[in-house]
Symmetry: C2
Subunit: 376 residues, 2 copies
Amino acid sequence: MADNSLPLVTDPGARTATRRDRLRAVAVEADLDAIIISNLVNVRYLTGFTGSNAALLVRPNGADVLATDGRYTTQARAQAPDLEIVIERACAPALAGLAARNGALRLGYESHVVTIDGLAHLQSAMAGLGSGTEPVSIHAAVETLRAIKDGSEIEALRAACGIADRALASLIADGGLRAGRTEREVGRDLDNRMLSLGAEAVSFETIVAAGANSAIPHHRPDEAVLAGGDFVKLDFGATYAGYHSDMTRTFVLGAPAAWQRDIYDLVATSQRLGREALTVGAAVVDVDAAARTPIVEAGHGPAFTHGLGHGVGLEIHEAPGLSALGAGKLEADMVVTVEPGVYLPGRGGVRIEDTLVVGTDGPDLLTLTSKELVAL
Amino acid sequence: MADNSLPLVTDPGARTATRRDRLRAVAVEADLDAIIISNLVNVRYLTGFTGSNAALLVRPNGADVLATDGRYTTQARAQAPDLEIVIERACAPALAGLAARNGALRLGYESHVVTIDGLAHLQSAMAGLGSGTEPVSIHAAVETLRAIKDGSEIEALRAACGIADRALASLIADGGLRAGRTEREVGRDLDNRMLSLGAEAVSFETIVAAGANSAIPHHRPDEAVLAGGDFVKLDFGATYAGYHSDMTRTFVLGAPAAWQRDIYDLVATSQRLGREALTVGAAVVDVDAAARTPIVEAGHGPAFTHGLGHGVGLEIHEAPGLSALGAGKLEADMVVTVEPGVYLPGRGGVRIEDTLVVGTDGPDLLTLTSKELVAL
């Protein structure tokens, strides 16, 4: 049963119309006659439609069209009642043909999503129609819009993170994190608790990594048995109303050894510095550096093998990326993870991760589970 | 705990080497100097590597190279011990640069997977190296190889289907399919039974559709409560060793009404005719027609809104497609679903689906659950 304290999603039509208007402004600025959206997550963001085959035509005059196939006729009408709906298996080509027949000369498309073959299909659907429609890349325009969350999105993310917090608390309270269980058993237990607390699904395959496995950043839970003295790293999340939470905590089964306490404290310090660097206007490379510096200074730089964090929303990984290779600056209402880690092959590793909203008054922490070193 | 009767995966190195040799033959035939594989599922098929960022370079001389990023160094060495491994975040561009430096002039790539931006990245990685490397589409060459399963793949599919069969049998035996439960409760119960029986994961989000919801071909389980007289449609599967099962059964809670028996019998007849049409050399459009004809003749043609079936393997939907729009003929050791349905909006719907291996002695049924109309 869903927890009744979770927020309800209301007024989706007005929200998605506002988002399409923002994309329309992109179309006008780039002198485009229409835009075809092929990325299904972007279609959902702009329309509310959640089917597995769809494309969206956004036009400057506001006469937007959603295409999907016959399996989803009823669902499309229910989820996107404000849109004209075209039923056609080849969604994007159908919309390209429609745009070309209506005289579009410059047709925006998502060049990071559309494949070489997909563009050929669009072009053949337009051939002979209109007067020579030209495809023009809009790059990741919708992903850029999606990086800044609106109020309803932040509430969905807060609800998703709350589910994950409560699931972990109940796992620990019930003694679910104990020597003798396998990684898989712990992972399934945690997943079921999230689903019982109202998660639609898990955000990604839950990582449970015990002992030496904790040194593998993205270990898949297996039949390894948790043992006293082990680090146990849990990286997991819940989805709620389509939005993903993402949190990592690392525990020790029994009293921590000195080396475990040392790398835990180092990662915790790094993670705190990373959170403190989340300010509006900060360059993402500087946020990464703020967290990375203490790890490098402690001589563990090569053991921090990934970026500091990433945006979270309708996808588990989205813009902005917080890493040394990232670009751009943080803006208010971006939602990101901060997740440094140190991994010592053959011994064990620690990662500590929160999901936070960037804001002018400092970050708003969505994952509330304690980050003190807990010995179970 | 995994069921010990499930087959173990053995000797993966020799199998993946054989598959790469088949792709090498494609390279030689198309006069290619190397091929870059970007589709992660294809990388897994050809190497055994299961990480979330990778690309593979296949070369005529056999010196194949797997690229992945720093998170997966250990895993790549363990899963693909027979391959040279390059650690680089931008995997495909790194391999394109390597191929160009080694003098490749015609570089095969997957034009149905590589995006417009992705091809630009490959080209810029090759710029100034070698003497003008030209990207050449190999289209879906690996998916074509994957359509014919080898013995180990068929055993993995059989194990996956067996898990689904046993999970459904135990759900029914324990009275889990009963009036008063919600669709979501039934779905989670079935999922947990598959996981307890050794599934790595569920093949896709389990469909539980009760009453009028059963008329929605791809209904997501919600808080709808199962009631006496309802059709209850379950479409679900388990993955085992990466391979997916897919099965649909439709039940009636209580004594079936005449209209329910009528459409159930119609769909069951259609499904039997579809299975009987699965012969080596049959055109996929003829298989679809064999199952579709009785439904059309009964006046329900427009209520069968989707194709008859699809290949199943490392992906839940793969080649070949069995539909009126499909192309090609069935070959031995293809594994496909046969899943006709009739959906009466507002009333209810029936779909019956099996997964089968195409063979010279007739199809080998992998999903063994009875297709008799069961009134619960």
